[in-house]
């Protein structure tokens, strides 16, 4: 039996795969989205919903976030299903005077790049939330940051692309093998085989397993994170807050913190959700693919939250979950063709920025596949080749 031949098969139904499938289908291509479980059942439902620039390195990283924010705003008007889009800006709070000085510099750099950042003083922080500690020296805000519900966003993309652009979606179809026959790929799955001329590997933290099927070594490592869900009790605050130390953790820079906080890679993130609950993060650990909730890490996170929100001591935590960020060595995703295997593309490796960067990623991938000469962001910093180059010098 010969399976239907698609122009593009996107593997992975998380926020990156759904976004890529959306823009490719919209551009007129015949696209199928293949997902091993259900839509948004991996990292994209075990994360928070920040579409943020506030935590991005000034330069290419923050520019890519800004482009992605514009695309999400556009989609908030075009998609039929709502996805809890809230453009309220976000803030960073500092733990000590050293961080405060770094924050002032951070704002200056981001302003020079044309981004809307402002320094916040002690009083500004107090007016953000009555629960903040009195000794927080200040922080900063990014005006353009927004929040979405990632799984609602995935559903909204898939729904629109299916009903209007002819996207086919195959869930509960785990890819078990891929072979190249001439110019087309035969993708074997646990739910029928698929044939396609091109493949986009958007499997996030599982992208290396897909790569291996075509002898492509993809340097993505799972970086585990925990999230706690706090119950609605009194309104905590209106917008997302992270501590400045989050940046230090993310980029592996030196930070003043106790041993356990450092060991578990813990930094405060608090996201008010549409349901009035709040999410508390975060931890960062390289412990393979073990999803077990580590109570010691959870304790460290609760402690860290109380450092910034001591007046939330009696707030109830109702749930905890873990997810895996697809980490790359240089903290940038891979959005690229694979020269060794013509027709095979990668859109993965966003670490904790998948929600923020999914739309920019997807638009760029659509432009690469449609061989457009001008792209929405430069593609060189995201090329798969960059890892090979670093090996030469290693």
């Amino acid at each position: 039996m010969s399976a239907k031949n698609y122009e593009v098969a996107v593997i992975g139904g998380g926020i990156v795969g759904c976004s890529v499938a959306f823009y490719l289908a919209e551009s007129g291509l015949d696209v199928i989205l293949i997902e091993k479980n259900d839509i948004a059942s991996g990292t994209s439902s075990r994360c928070d919903g920040n579409v943020s620039i506030v935590d991005k390195d000034p330069g290419f990283d923050s520019h890519m976030s800004w482009v992605s924010q514009e695309l999400i705003e556009d989609l908030s008007k075009r998609l039929d299903r709502p996805f809890e889009y809230r453009k309220s800006g976000s803030i960073l709070v500092c733990d000590n005077d050293d961080e405060m000085q770094a924050a002032v510099d951070w704002v200056k750099t981001q302003n020079e790049a044309g981004l809307k950042f402002n320094v916040l003083d002690r009083n500004d922080i107090k007016s953000e939330s009555p629960f903040f500690a009195d000794d927080i020296p200040g922080g900063l805000e990014c005006e353009t940051d927004s929040l979405i519900n990632p799984y609602m966003f995935c559903y909204a993309l898939v729904d629109k692309a299916e009903s209007e652009y002819g996207l086919q979606v195959k869930t509960r179809a785990e890819v078990t093998n891929i072979t190249k026959e001439g110019r087309e790929f035969k993708i074997q799955t646990t739910n029928e085989d698929v044939r396609a001329q091109k493949i986009v590997n958007a499997a996030g933290v599982w992208a290396p397993f897909i790569g291996k099927m075509l002898d492509v070594d993809i340097p993505i490592t799972p970086r585990k994170g925990h999230i706690l869900v706090g119950s609605r009790q009194q309104p905590v605050m209106m917008r997302n807050v992270m501590e400045f130390g989050y940046l230090m953790n993310k980029f592996g820079r030196e930070r003043i913190a106790d041993k356990r906080t450092t060991e578990h890679g813990v930094a405060l993130v608090l996201e008010p959700t549409e349901s009035q609950n709040f999410l508390l993060g975060s931890s960062r650990q390289f412990v393979g693919y073990d999803p077990t909730i580590d109570i010691r890490v959870v304790e460290t996170m609760a402690r860290r939250a109380l450092r910034f929100f001591p007046k939330m001591n009696d707030f109830k935590i109702i749930r905890a979950y873990t997810g895996f960020r697809p980490f790359t060595e240089d903290h940038l995703p891979i959005i690229s063709e694979v020269k060794e295997v013509p027709g095979f593309y990668i859109a993965a490796g966003h670490e904790g920025d998948g929600i923020s960067l999914a739309t920019g990623t997807a638009k760029l991938m659509e432009e690469i596949i449609n061989e457009k000469t001008e792209t929405i962001i430069p593609k060189e910093p995201l090329s798969f080749d960059r890892f090979k180059k670093s090996e030469v010098y290693a």
Binding site: D38, I295, A302
Partner: protein, 91 residues
């Protein structure tokens, strides 16, 4: 029947679940996530069996397949202070 409350915490009725299922032709997991049934304060401890049964009936899925109504810590709501483990050894 339609007005029967299934999830007390999030105030979700049987009718709400059926309507979402019909509107989006959803998987069991999607119905749960869209309705928030079982995602409230009790974490499904009160309503899980009822929600499992209803979603299985609607979608014909095997409940063990995909329902994220799994049991995970904390087993019941706990205050941030208690969770913070103050007073415990730091090592």
């Amino acid at each position: 029947m339609k007005d029967t409350i299934i999830c007390r915490c999030e105030e979700i009725t049987l009718g709400d679940l059926e309507e979402i299922a019909k509107k989006h032709n959803s998987s069991a997991r999607e119905i749960k996530l869209l309705s928030r049934a079982g995602m409230g304060f009790c974490g499904g401890r009160t309503c899980r069996p009822a929600i499992d049964k209803i979603l299985t009936n609607i979608t014909k899925e095997n409940p063990s397949d995909a329902l994220p109504l799994k049991v995970a810590p904390p087993v019941r709501p706990i205050s941030l202070t208690d969770l913070g483990g103050f007073g415990k050894d730091d090592e």
